[in-house]
Amino acid sequence: MRVIVAEDNFTRDAIADVLGGPPYGLDVIGRASTIADLLRLVDADPPDIVTLDLRMPRVDPRAKPELAGLDAARQIRSAHPGVAILVLSQFDYVPWVEEVVKLGMAVGYQLKDELRDLGRLAEVMRAVAAGEIRIDSTLVARLVSRPRLDGPLDRLTRREREVLGLMAEGLSNAGIAARLVIEQGSVEAHATEIYRKLGISHLGGEVNARVMAVLAFLRSGRTPGFAS
């Protein structure tokens, strides 16, 4: 798996060095410390996946960092639709997560806490590069435990809540079955039950449509059609 790592600080080389060596063995083909560097590297030799920070200097590495990561992600997605994008961020803002999911499949949004377990990060990168969606579990857990007026999640069983959380993290039914060590058929049954109980409707087969619907529900307690 060929990777470009974009960070404007120590983390960049740390990730690149460790992921490039055993036991992960990723092929780190580029390191960028500015948005301009990143775009140039991706244009010159599109990798399988880029990891990027939301806040980086645009052109001059010594300049003040700016919130330009989302713009860069959109540019990469439109110029190189085959490049997977994983955002590594300190910001736990769900609206930004939704912006990333809007880019389509093969995207991820992870908080930098994940760096304490590089094995997991490598696994997330493989999944995203393979076309899946991965949202930070801490963020999703917080959304699931968000206080709600009529407690719609109270209607779910414990197992259904687990499944809902994994759906929001972006896992497919097969992925959820593997994670929970249950049959894929029962995941599908749980999912149908969740949709019914929460009134989440009109879900296409696309995983990112499902992630968006679930995130929107968790954010507002309403299905996207009703959100103002």
């Binding site: 960092p65 919130l67 910001f91 803002y93 769900v94 760096l115 968000r146």
Partner: protein
Amino acid sequence: MNWAGMALSAAAGLAVAAAAIWMSVGAVPFPWWVVVPEDEVGVLFLGLGLLVWVRRPVVGRRMALLLVAVAVTWYLPYLQFSANPVVFRLGFWLFYLHIAVLAQVFFAAPHGRLARPAERWLVAGVYATALVTQGMRVLTEDPLVAQGWGSPSAKVSSWAPVGSVLALLLTAVGLALVVQRWRAEPALARRVHSLLWAGYCVVAAVLSANFVGAVLRVSVFTSGILLLCYAVALMQLGAVAAVVALRTDASIQRIVARLLAQLDPSSATRVPLHNALAEALKDPSLTLHYWSAGTREYVDPRGESAPAAAWPGHAVTVVKGPDQQPLAAIGHDPYLLTQPHYRQLLDAVVAASGLALDNARLDAENQAHLRGLLEAEHATRRSIQAVLHDGVQHRLTDIQFLLGQARDTCQDPGVHASLTLIADEVQATARDLRDVVAGIYPVNLHDAGLAAALDRLADLPRSAPLELRVSSSRWPPAVEETAYFVVSEAVGNARKHANATRICVDVETTQDGVLVRVSDDGVGGATFGGRGTGLRGLRDRVAAGGGTLKIAPSAIGTIIEAVLPCA
């Protein structure tokens, strides 16, 4: 002039009219429907003059005298009906004098003074024409036949058509002056004068027809019709002149008294300074700017810089304080400076509003300082947020990374367990810090908007549910920042003190700006004077942006409402 004097004038005027009409009975060649209206023109002007005199005894006096002069001169031609040859000749000579007085009334309205040289010359020309041509006729024509607007059979000298043609010319010049004035005058003056201009055009047309008729020696019947039109047009012009005089010349004392009452801070009917001044000076386009001694520039009432170059089309009157420092600049219709009456009014209004202007100036200056402080505070929050993110948070990430590496390569189970404990603590620290940083400044406010920035406030576990009904509109950055901090503080208060089971946040655009409402169903009883400085600080924060914050009355819980102006 007292009431007795006025009554005496009225009686004398009526006596003149009665005598004149009595003398004319049976001696004029026109039918009754011409004679009756013609006889009443003088009486009407007398009445109008006295009316203006009574209603505006000081500022309307000149105008009143002029109107009475029209009344008296109107009856001078009636002297022709006297058997005494001297009186007869006097009546003949002064036949057209009333037209000159009428011209003076017209161009001197509404104050009774002729302000412009061209108009002074014109009025003088009318007087000269009326007196000289008629005088020459008295001297040259023999026999001298009584004239009632050009009896076609009378033998006249060449001075008669000369007089008519000169009168036509002067009427045309007057019309040109009217057009010129109408084009040059600003809106305020036009409003005052528009009735007069219309009246002049009517009289000029009728008068011209009469002069043409006199030159062409039209029949008695036709000249009777023309005379009737003339009488009606004159009555109309007199009424208009009186209305204009009455409408515009409210006494300065009364205006100033009203202004002072409106500016009285203890009055329930207090009017904003700008509106009170605009009303007193009858200029809705009036602008008001205050001198900020700190920044040495003019500012608007909200304290925003407003250079003098931005007030086009206005004459500027600078109001100075006791130490000759400017207090404020009043931008107003330049017409106010061209009229002596308005000049006096302006001086009086400025003198009367000095204290209020000084107070308003201090308010504007304070407003500017407060807004500066607020902007500085927001900027500080942004920079602290950036420093923490780009520095401390990054370092914590690095530490988490290094700890993870150390743990992965560590063989000793005891050390491995310790490293896991440390890593968990560091992660907890990183999360706490993330909450702190997010609380200092909502970093996504600028690009994602208020609704998205407030979303994170709903994530606090084990607290009252937060229902956000936030318009997705965008507002100026400073307004969004203030709205964010109002909501986050008020929600924090509700969570800490109110013991609420639900908290609602509504943010919407209204006529007055952005309305921010945070309501809960908790114990209520929030006051500005209670423990802590939360609500008071919030009120100051909102006031610094020119808005208001109040605790709205509510049967249950607490409702905090803030209105943030966007202009």
